[in-house]
């Protein structure tokens, strides 16, 4: 079922709500068969993008292709090929979870009864309870079961794990991987780094309606600094004069700093002069990458260099 090429291709997308510019020349491409992370804080434009992809909102400018079609014009036929899990799902309080799963599945074009039963079992959902009595996590499970029980090419998921307990998050990840193994594509909008780190092949980071970074996790890590902690016999000197060393904190025989990827070699050469006793280094976590784009300390010049990846 894997779709070659771009399943989602967004370029220069603009969306306004009155005077607010929600999406400002936003770009994103999602390739067939990948799990694509879509990261950004609340209000950055994630849900707006997903709703434009679903033809629920109309774009004000730019190009959007979804599964080879126009999400606004071809909404109904495209929706047969995808499943959507909304952020904070609202359901009908007097229908049961089981009824809603069947309803959404059927309207989407049918669901696999065997998978439905398996998913209900694995997500520990009681399908006989009225939706009005479900907690947020349970409502989320209803939408997830309805989505995963349909065999579709594309899954659009907006914050799907909010409200799920840690065990259920693991089950969720298992099914996302299974969907990818079956050749489906998944767009996972989230602000939970662990989910994106565990699942995503590539990711796009959005900020104030603009794409600030895109690529594989490895590429993004490469563009960011490594954290180094070093202990030595001789007092360390001269680090503050080296290019590419940031956030330096040191006393006599101990130092901790962040170093740019292309400066690591120079820094290590410098450090061997002081008889190293211990050295720890860690690649930046996704959270640190993300904070780099939202925190204050990142110089703006570097950000401009980074955003070129998105093109």
């Amino acid at each position: 079922m894997g779709t070659p090429g771009n399943v989602i291709k967004i370029s220069g997308l603009v969306k306004r709500f009155g005077k607010t510019l929600a999406l400002d020349e936003f770009n994103m491409s999602v390739q067939g068969g990948e799990v694509h992370g879509f990261l950004g804080p609340n209000g950055a434009g994630k849900s707006t993008t997903v709703r434009i992809l679903l033809g629920l909102l109309r774009r004000d400018g730019g190009e959007v292709k979804l599964l080879g079609g126009d999400p606004w014009r071809d909404a109904v036929s495209l929706h047969r090929r995808l499943a959507y899990v909304p952020d904070d799902v609202k359901l009908w309080p007097n229908l049961t979870g089981g009824e809603v799963i069947d309803l959404l599945g059927r309207l989407r074009g049918g669901l696999n009864p065997g998978r439905r039963a398996e998913l209900i079992e694995r997500f520990k959902l009681d399908p006989t309870k009225k939706c009005g009595t479900y907690s947020r996590g349970n409502r989320q499970k209803v939408a997830l079961v309805a989505a995963f029980a349909s065999d579709v090419e594309l899954y659009l998921m907006d914050e799907p794990t909010t409200g799920l307990d840690p065990l259920m998050v693991l089950t969720f990840r298992e099914y996302v991987k299974q969907a990818r193994d079956n050749g489906s594509t998944v767009l996972l909008s989230s602000h939970i780094f662990a989910d994106v780190e565990a699942l995503c092949d590539r990711l796009t980071i959005i900020r104030s309606g603009k794409c600030v970074q895109a690529g594989t996790l490895a590429e993004l890590r490469h563009l960011t600094r490594t954290k180094v902690h070093v202990e030595s016999e001789k007092p360390i000197t001269g680090l503050d004069r080296l290019q590419g060393v940031h956030a330096l904190e040191q006393n006599e025989n101990e130092a901790e700093f962040h170093v740019d990827v292309d400066a690591i070699d120079d820094v290590l050469r410098h450090l061997v002069n002081f008889k190293i006793k211990a050295l720890y280094s860690a690649p930046p976590s996704l959270e640190e990458i993300f904070m780099g784009h939202y925190g204050e300390e990142m110089p703006s010049g570097e950000q401009a260099g980074v955003s070129e990846v998105s093109k």
């Binding site: 609202k90 089981g98 309803l103 989407r108 009595t133």
Partner: protein, 545 residues
């Protein structure tokens, strides 16, 4: 009394949350009476009028379902007859909604957890809700009494009647305090309290229907079921005649016993749980549910069945009164004039049919709004987002609401025609004739109701956020400028023509005329098409995520 710690703060929070709705309940009720009482005074201007009007209802067991006159041969007893049951139901609705809102609903939304973890006693929430309910009912009674006294009704009788209404209110508040402990969701708790209120109405009505009418004294002696219902207690107080105050004690005692029971039950259950677990529903959807039409039907079938029951009851009463209508008109000159204005004919039975079908036809506009406005609610709440992200097109989604509204309202028009026609046939003879006459007079209202649906659909497509406001306003204007109120207010023709209801042929007084009906049909279809096209082209108006 540690279990009541923090009750002052709880009452203040509840008052603040209700600062708009509570005054609205009271003002609207008072406003309704302020309009209605002068109208009733206009209907029964002389003692003969009064006697004729009271006899009309008293001799007819079906009419007694809605109330009995309290005796005393004053305009007050006519107001009791017309208004007591309605006011009781309003007080009941206000009270159980209030109690459930400040008890079970707080647990549903987890607000109570936050409150429960602070310095607040276990029973403070329930006690605050009950105190607020008593307070609200006292205010409501004060408003009612002021309006009655201002209209020149006897002071003692007015106070007795309004306290009777408050008695029903606090009784239901007690019932709701218990159902909020028994059921685990606010829906079920309100639903059960509402069912008890309905049962109270039916019991009082049944007692009156089964009662004995004493012609000499124009007095209905109610049978025992009336004595089982707080609404019955209020009626048996006989305000404006006997003013039996001790019956108020029954309501107060009922309230106190149920409140104590609720406090006791609250200690027997866990937080967030009810004594009865929520009933499980089906794990799979029935085949009828998994299409958009079936879904909308399922979502509003409760509303439909409620209306259907109301239509049957209204039809029975209306059919059965038709037998006495000529006699009543002969006795009451005022009523005769009124019906001539409304009905536009001197044939009293025809005028009566015109007036009643006009009321029903316009009333059913409420049902149209209930169904079609649901579209907007589902869009704002988010269910529409989940649905329209499936392969369901916007047109089919909207069309399923239109079809549901029209099918439902058509069925309701036929249900009341059938029930009224059959009963009128029993009373007057010649069932086929009356059935045909009443059905024709009723069903002609369909095109005007379709126009109303069309207005909502079109507004929803262009101005989604204003749908409810504009929808209800258009309905209100259509009713005010419509055939009954418009005629009574003597509005100019141009203003009357604004209402689609004005253009309905007033059968059987007027003959059938297809032209206005076809035009309205065309307008309705045009509005539907406009709505379908432009809804397809707009952004969904969703909550931001």
């Amino acid at each position: 009394m540690k279990t009541l710690t923090g009750i002052g703060a709880m009452i203040r929070v509840a008052l603040r949350r209700d600062r708009i709705q509570l005054p609205l309940w009271i003002i609207l009720t008072g406003g309704f009476l302020a309009v209605a009482v002068p109208t009733w005074k206009g209907v029964v201007q002389t003692e003969e009028d009064l006697r004729a009007a009271i006899e009309l209802f008293a001799v007819n067991p079906a009419a007694r379902l809605f109330g009995i006159a309290s005796g005393g041969e004053s305009i007050g007893e006519f107001v009791m007859l017309e208004a007591f049951a309605t006011l009781s139901i309003v007080a009941g609705l206000m009270s159980f909604l209030l109690v459930v809102r400040h008890t079970r609903k707080n647990e549903d939304t987890r607000r109570a957890e936050l409150i429960g973890s602070s310095v607040v006693g276990r029973h403070a929430g329930l006690a605050a809700a009950l105190i607020l309910a008593v307070f609200a009912n006292v205010l409501l009674a004060t408003a009612i009494a002021i309006v009655l006294i201002a209209n020149g009704l006897a002071v003692t009788g007015s106070i007795a009647m309004s306290l009777g209404v408050a008695g029903v209110g606090i009784s239901i508040a007690g019932v709701a305090a218990v159902t909020a402990q028994v059921y685990s969701t606010s829906r079920s708790a309100s639903g059960m309290a509402g069912a008890v209120l309905a049962a109270m109405f039916v019991l009082s009505g049944a007692g009156n229907m089964l009662g004995r009418y004493d012609e000499a004294t124009v007095w209905v002696h109610s049978a025992w079921p009336s004595w089982l219902s707080p609404i019955g207690w209020g009626q048996q107080m006989r305000p404006f005649a006997e003013n039996d105050w001790w019956l108020l004690g029954l309501s107060v005692a009922f309230f106190l016993v149920l409140s104590m029971a609720a406090f006791w039950l609250a200690t027997r259950r866990d937080f967030g749980m009810g004594l009865l677990p929520e009933k499980p529903g089906p794990a799979r959807a029935a085949p009828g549910l998994v299409n958009p039409f079936g879904l909308v039907w399922r979502l509003q079938r409760g509303v439909f069945f409620g209306w259907a029951i109301g239509m049957v009851a209204f039809g029975v009463i209306y059919g059965s009164i038709s037998g006495e209508i000529e006699g009543f008109m002969a006795e009451s000159e005022t009523a005769r004039e009124l019906f001539e204005v409304i009905g536009g004919t001197e044939v009293m039975l025809d005028a009566f049919i015109v007036a009643i079908t006009g009321i029903i036809g316009m009333l059913l506009g409420v049902y149209i709004l209930q169904v079609t406005l649901r579209m907007r609610r589902e869009e704002a709440d988010g269910q529409a987002e989940a649905l329209l992200a499936t392969a369901l097109s916007r047109c089919r989604w909207m069309a399923s609401y239109i079809f549901n509204a029209l099918l439902g309202v058509t069925l309701l028009l036929f249900i009341i025609s059938l029930s009224a026609g059959l009963v009128a046939g029993l009373v007057l003879g010649d069932t086929a004739h009356w059935l045909g006459e009443i059905t024709a007079a009723t069903v002609v209202y369909l095109p005007a109701l379709m126009v109303l649906a069309g207005v909502v659909v079109a507004v929803f497509a262009f101005l989604p956020q204003k749908t409810a406001m504009i929808g209800w306003s258009v309905f209100a204007i259509s009713v005010i400028c419509g055939p009954i109120i418009g005629d009574m207010l003597d509005l100019p023709e141009a203003v009357l023509n604004l209402s689609p209801f004005t253009h309905i042929p007033q059968m059987p007084a007027e003959s059938f005329n297809a032209a206005p009906l076809l035009i309205m049909l065309g307008v309705a279809l045009g509005l539907f098409i406009l709505g379908l096209i432009f809804f397809r082209r707009r952004n969904l108006n969703l909550s931001s995520g």
